[in-house]
Symmetry: C2
Subunit: 191 residues, 2 copies
């Protein structure tokens, strides 16, 4: 097993979160970012402390060192990221096709900031990003775009990530559920 | 370009839809199923005509022949599917790891029904499924699990799908948006 530190440093920026409307989608974006190897997510739009707390609780239970932070001014974050030598990839159904650019993106070892949009992404994001990338040119979901993009730039290595200090750890089984609970040093079977 | 017919026939079954709580997630599940090569999705749980109409409107605008249907009794559908020689794959974070079983699943040319769960999946789904498959053993999203699983069993061929008779067709560009509108035989540039 490997730790996240062995891989490219990936952060995610989720634009334009709306507390009432987006809580589940944004939560799924956060958990996807974590499960597929990002080390941190920044939320922009409306501040949502409850959502952030829920994601932090998942990290406590399921391990690893994933961070979540609120960033009101996301253009400052993008500028800082690029000034520090990092690259910015904006996922959009209108962008260059992922299958054509993924090798180029992977070939650079620079830190990656993946931007996933909200309802309407401003033009300046398209202009500032190092790559605007589409995961299919069909409408679907920022959750699925992020997952497939992370899977592709990780070359499937997200399946070997080690989420250390977890309380809950799934033991994969062909049928049923098996979870090791490290806090109590016991094993449960759901069936 | 290829049509969906050149590939394995994939349908998706979404369990336990709740009209008030799940409308956006279920919509994302439907659009992900379509964009990544499924020909049909069945919704179970609460019937939601508005959601189904919205998905059908996307199909009209963006092309292809994706179908959506409501199925109250999903166990009947699973039985029928298997009786007709098809296979059932249930996506669950507790299942066999996708990286270990995807080649076996792909090697069979039988029709595939992918089941994605709701809040609590009954034991009989685990027992009836030909495979229970995890896309990472971490909590994230049925949307991301479905997308990455479809991407893996399609071997990335979802990027070559042809959604015929579309009104809107994205022309991928490195910056900005370009969409061909076939109804009016014109081209728009957003910037």
């Amino acid at each position: 097993m490997n730790t996240n530190c062995d891989y490219m440093n990936i952060n995610v920026l989720r634009l334009d979160h709306r507390v009432k409307r987006d809580v589940r989608i944004t939560t799924h974006v956060c958990l996807t970012a974590r499960a597929f190897g990002a080390s941190k997510i920044y939320l922009s739009g409306e501040e949502d402390e409850k959502l952030m707390k829920n994601v932090e609780d998942v990290v406590t239970r399921w391990g690893g060192s994933f961070e979540i932070a609120y960033k009101k001014n996301y253009m400052n974050l993008i500028d800082e990221w690029q000034n520090n030598g990092g690259e910015v990839i904006h996922l959009t159904m209108y962008g260059s096709q992922v299958q054509n650019v993924v090798e180029e993106i992977k070939s650079s070892e620079k830190d990656k900031l993946i931007v996933v949009g909200g309802s309407r992404v401003p033009t300046k994001i398209y202009k500032k990003s190092d790559w605007n990338v589409s995961v299919t040119n069909q409408p679907h979901s920022e959750v699925s775009s992020l997952a497939v993009f992370q899977h592709m730039i990780m070359d499937g290595e997200e399946f070997n990530l080690d989420f250390n200090d977890a309380i809950f750890e799934v033991v994969p089984v062909a049928e049923g559920k098996q979870v090791n609970i490290h806090e109590n040093n016991e094993k449960i079977n759901d069936f």
